[in-house]
C-alpha cells in the first residue's frame, strides 16, 4: 500500500527484509498465533525475540530509559509487521508484547525495572489470563477472585482459559475480581502472577487443529504479593482494554499474511493437475481470485485508514471492529476457497504424501474460526459498530 515511491521507507523495508532473510530462525509456518511445539522451539523463539529488540525492530516505541529509540516511527512498525508476516514468522503482537505495553503504561517504576529488561533480553515471556469458560466475548462476566488479605497481598481462586503461550510463560497478566461487591467490569483489577506459583496449574488445551496452542489455567488459593497489582485497584478493566489496543502495532501483519496466502492461492491455481488442466484458466476461478485480491486490498486500505486516524488522534469507534471483521472473514473465505481449489485433494492433511502445499490450507481452515471468535466474536463487533459508531440502541441485558 503505497502511493508514490518513498525512498526512505523502501530502504527501511529492504533493510528489514535482509535482516529477516539472514537472521530469522526456522520456526514452523502455521496459521495464526501458535505456541512453541517443544522446549527447543521455545528457546529459539526467546532468542529471536531478544535479537529483534536488540536490532531495534521491537520496542522502538518504548521510553528511551527502557531501551526505546526515542524516534519511533509507526510506519516502520507497520513495515516490520508486514515483513515478519511475509517471512512466515510468528506475529510480533503476542502476549509478551501486550504485557510490555501494560507495564510501560500502568506499571510502577519497580515493576518496570524488574520486568522490562527481562522482556528485552528474551529471558522471560508472558501470557494473558483474561478469558474464562463462562466469560468469552462477554469478558466482564469473569468470576476469578483475587481476595485482598488483611496482611497484604491477595489470594486468587478461579479458572482461566484460552491462554496462549501459558505453558511456556514465566509470568501471567491476570484479570480478577478484587471487589466482588462491584458489578461486572467495575470490580476487576489487573495483577502480575508468576506462572510457577503454588496452586496454579496449567493444562494445555488441544485444539481442533491437533496442536496445543492455548491452555487452561486453574488457580486454587494462589497467594500473590501486594506489589503484584498492575495499575490501580479496581481499574483492571481499563488496564486490559488499553493494552488490547496495543495490538495496533501488529496492524499490518494481517494484510501481509493475506497477501502471502494469496500468492499461495495463485500458485495453486496455476498448478497443472494430473489431468493436464490449470484452474487459473477457468473464469470462475479467476473471478474468485479477483474477488479475494480485491478484498485483500480493501483490508489493507482499512488498515491504512485506521493508522492515519490514530496518528491524527481521530480514531473512530468503528475502526477496530471493522478491521477485525474484514480480516477475519476474508481469512476464512480464503481458506475455504483454497480447499475448493484443491478439489479431491482438499481432504488430505499434513503428513500425507499427496497433500498439496504441505497441508497449510487445511491448518488455515481449521484455525480460521479463531479469528472470527476470539477477542470478541464477529457478532459482538457488529454490535459495537452499530451502537458506538451509528448510535443505535444497545442490546437489552437479560
Amino acid at each position: 500500500m503505497k502511493l508514490a515511491d518513498d525512498a526512505e521507507l523502501d530502504r527501511f523495508r529492504n533493510e528489514v527484509r535482509e535482516f529477516l532473510d539472514s537472521e530469522a530462525p526456522d520456526i514452523p509456518v502455521r496459521a495464526g498465533f501458535r505456541s512453541p511445539e517443544n522446549e527447543a522451539e521455545n528457546l529459539v523463539r526467546k532468542r529471536w525475540r531478544a535479537r529483534l529488540y536488540e536490532a531495534g525492530y521491537l520496542g522502538a516505541d518504548w521510553p528511551v530509559e527502557w531501551g526505546g529509540s526515542g524516534k519511533w516511527n509507526p510506519v516502520h512498525d507497520l513495515i516490520i509487521s508486514e515483513e515478519v508476516a511475509r517471512a512466515g514468522l510468528p506475529p510480533l503482537t503476542d502476549q509478551t508484547h501486550l504485557a510490555a505495553f501494560a507495564l510501560i503504561r500502568f506499571g510502577t517504576e519497580e515493576q518496570k525495572a524488574r520486568f522490562l529488561p527481562a522482556i528485552r533480553d528474551g529471558s522471560e515471556t508472558w501470557c494473558q489470563l483474561f478469558s474464562e469458560p463462562d466469560a468469552g466475548s462477554d469478558l466482564a462476566a469473569m468470576r476469578t477472585e483475587a481476595k485482598p488479605l488483611e496482611e497484604g497481598g491477595y489470594l486468587v481462586n478461579g479458572q482461566k482459559v484460552w491462554s496462549s503461550n501459558a505453558a511456556w510463560a514465566d509470568w501471567g497478566f491476570l484479570l480478577a475480581r478484587s471487589d466482588t461487591s462491584l458489578d461486572r467490569h467495575r470490580g476487576i483489577s489487573a495483577f502480575i502472577v508468576p506462572m510457577d506459583a503454588p496452586g496454579l496449574e496449567i493444562r494445555p488445551l488441544r485444539e481442533i487443529t491437533g496442536t496445543e496452542d492455548f491452555s487452561e489455567v486453574f488457580m486454587e488459593d494462589v497467594a500473590i504479593s501486594g506489589d503484584s497489582l498492575l495499575g490501580e485497584r479496581e481499574q483492571g478493566w481499563k488496564v486490559a482494554m488499553e493494552s488490547l489496543g496495543a495490538e495496533r502495532s501488529g496492524i499490518g501483519a494481517g494484510g501481509a499474511r493475506l497477501r502471502q496466502l494469496l500468492e499461495m492461492t495463485v500458485e495453486l491455481a496455476e498448478t497443472e493437475n494430473e489431468a493436464g488442466g490449470r484452474p487459473i484458466e477457468s473464469s470462475d476461478v479467476r473471478q474468485k481470485i479477483g474477488e479475494i485480491a480485491t478484498e485483500i486490498e480493501i483490508n489493507n486500505l482499512l488498515v491504512q485508514l485506521k493508522l492515519g486516524r490514530e496518528l491524527r488522534g481521530a480514531e473512530r469507534p468503528s475502526d477496530v471492529p471493522i478491521g477485525k471483521l474484514v480480516f477475519s472473514e476474508l481469512n476464512l473465505a480464503m481458506a475455504e476457497f483454497a480447499l475448493e481449489l484443491q478439489g479431491s485433494s482438499s481432504i488430505l492433511v499434513e503428513g500425507d504424501p499427496r497433500v498439496l502445499q504441505g497441508g497449510r490450507w487445511q491448518d488455515e481452515f481449521l484455525y480460521a474460526r479463531t479469528y472470527t471468535v476470539a477477542g470478541g466474536a464477529s457478532e459482538i463487533m457488529r454490535n459495537i459498530i452499530a451502537e458506538r459508531a451509528l448510535g443505535m440502541p444497545r442490546e437489552q441485558r437479560g
Partner: protein
C-alpha cells in the same frame, strides 16, 4: 416403494419427501443400534490410529439390512433401494460412525444386477449381505477432472484367459478394512469391473491422512494384479451403466451422510445456545444467533429433501435422475459445510477444542464435500442439462 400413494380412490397424493413409516422405524432402529454399539466416545480411540476390523459389529449391522437394501432380490437382497440406504447413511453421519458402510454399499451397487447370475460376484454379494465380507469400490480416479467414468485410466491387459491390472485409485473408502475390491478398469479402452481380493499379489493399499478422523480412505495401487476371466463382473458393455449408477449412489449416500452430521450439529448448537450465557442472557435470545440457527434449519430441511429425492429418482431410474443427483451433489455438502461453520461460530471457543465432538462433524462434512464431485462439478453437470 411407490412414488405416489392414494389417499382415496380419486386423489393422488404427491411424492412424500419425508420418511415413510417403515423408513422411520429403520431410522429409529439404526439410531438405537449405533448409540448402543458405537457411542461417540469410542470414536476417540481411533482418531489417531488405524481402525481395526470389527467382524462382529459388521455382522450385526448386516443383519439390520444395511447391505441387503442395496442388493437386488435376485441376488439375495431386499431390492435396490437408495432411499432406504440414505436413511442409514444419515444415521452414520449423525453418529460420526466408523464402520465400513460406504465401501461395501458402493461395492454392492457396482456388482449390480449381474451378481444375480455371476459366480464370483454372486459369492461376494452374498458374503456382503451376510456381513461376512467388507468390500471397497475402486471406481473413480479423481485427478482434478472429476470422478466420472472418464476418470478411469486403470488398465486391464488381457493375458491368457485372464487380465493383469495396472493402475492407481485414490481416496478409496474403506479399502483399509476391505477383503474384496471391486475395481473399474479399461480393457482396450472399454470399461469393465473386476473383483479382486485385497490380499492379492500386486495390490498395495496405503491409508491416506485426511481431515476425516473416523472414516478411512486409501490409495490402492494395482501393480500388475492377475485376475481371471471369472473375476470380471457382468457382461462386457454393462460396466458403464453400472459405474454411473454406483457413482450416483455414492453422491447420494455422501449427501445423506452430510445431512445427518449437519442435523446433529444443529441440535447441538440450539442446545448450547440455550445454555450459554453472555451479557446476562442466553445467547439463543440474540437475533443474530436465532437467524443463524433459522438458516441452519432451512438448509437441513432442503438438504434432506434434496438427498432423498435424488435417492428416489435413482431408485425409480426416473428421467429426472441426472438432474436430481446434480442438485443433491451441488447443494447438500455445501449447505452442510455452512451449517458446520455456523455451528462452530455459535459454539465459540469450546467448539474449537479437540475434546469437543464438534470438529469430528465439521471434518466429516468437509470430506463429504470433496468426495465424488464437488459443488462446482455438480453445477456444471446441471448447466449441461439446461443448455
Amino acid at each position: 416403494m411407490a412414488p405416489t400413494a392414494s389417499a382415496n380412490d380419486e386423489v393422488e397424493l404427491p411424492l412424500d419427501l419425508d420418511l415413510n413409516d417403515e423408513q422411520r422405524q429403520l431410522q429409529d432402529a439404526t439410531r438405537g443400534f449405533l448409540s448402543r454399539h458405537y457411542p461417540l466416545g469410542d470414536a476417540r480411540a481411533i482418531l489417531e490410529s488405524d481402525r481395526e476390523a470389527d467382524p462382529e459389529g459388521w455382522r450385526r449391522a448386516a443383519e439390520m439390512g444395511w447391505i441387503a437394501v442395496l442388493a437386488d432380490e435376485d441376488a439375495g437382497g431386499l431390492g435396490f433401494s437408495p432411499s432406504t440406504a440414505t436413511v442409514i447413511s444419515s444415521e452414520l453421519g449423525r453418529a460420526v460412525n466408523w464402520t465400513p458402510f460406504l465401501g461395501s454399499a458402493l461395492s454392492v451397487a457396482a456388482l449390480g444386477p449381474a451378481a444375480g447370475g455371476d459366480d464370483r460376484a454372486a459369492g461376494v454379494m452374498e458374503a456382503l449381505i451376510a456381513g461376512e465380507t467388507v468390500a471397497a469400490w475402486c471406481g473413480p480416479e479423481p485427478r482434478g477432472d472429476g470422478w466420472g467414468a472418464d476418470s478411469v485410466r486403470t488398465e486391464a491387459v488381457e493375458a491368457g484367459d485372464g487380465f493383469v491390472l495396472y493402475g492407481e485409485k485414490y481416496l478409496v473408502a474403506d479399502a483399509d478394512l476391505a477383503d474384496e475390491l471391486v475395481v473399474a478398469a479399461r480393457v482396450d479402452g472399454e470399461l469393465r469391473s473386476f473383483v479382486v481380493p485385497a490380499e492379492a499379489e500386486g495390490v498395495e493399499i496405503t491409508v491416506s491422512r485426511t481431515l476425516d478422523l473416523t472414516r478411512r480412505f486409501a490409495t490402492v495401487r494395482l501393480n500388475g494384479v492377475r485376475v481371471t476371466a471369472g473375476d470380471a463382473v457382468g457382461e462386457a458393455g454393462t460396466a458403464d451403466a453400472a459405474f454411473g449408477r454406483t457413482l450416483d449412489l455414492a453422491i447420494v449416500l455422501v449427501a445423506a451422510d452430510a445431512v445427518g452430521a449437519a442435523e446433529k450439529l444443529l441440535e447441538l448448537t440450539v442446545e448450547y445456545a440455550a445454555d450459554r450465557i453472555a451479557f446476562q442472557r442466553p445467547i439463543a435470545s440474540y437475533q443474530a444467533v436465532k437467524h443463524m440457527c433459522a438458516d441452519m434449519l432451512l438448509k437441513v430441511e432442503a438438504s434432506r429433501a434434496a438427498s432423498r429425492y435424488a435417492a428416489l429418482t435413482l431408485e425409480a431410474d426416473s428421467a429426472e435422475r441426472a438432474r436430481a443427483v446434480a442438485v443433491a451433489g451441488g447443494y447438500v455438502s455445501g449447505a452442510a459445510a455452512e451449517i458446520a461453520g455456523d455451528a462452530l461460530q455459535i459454539h465459540g471457543g469450546v467448539g474449537f477444542t479437540w475434546e469437543h465432538d464438534l470438529h469430528l462433524f465439521l471434518r466429516r462434512i468437509k470430506v463429504d464435500q470433496a468426495l465424488f464431485g464437488d459443488t462446482r462439478q455438480h453445477r456444471e453437470q446441471l448447466v449441461g442439462l439446461l443448455t
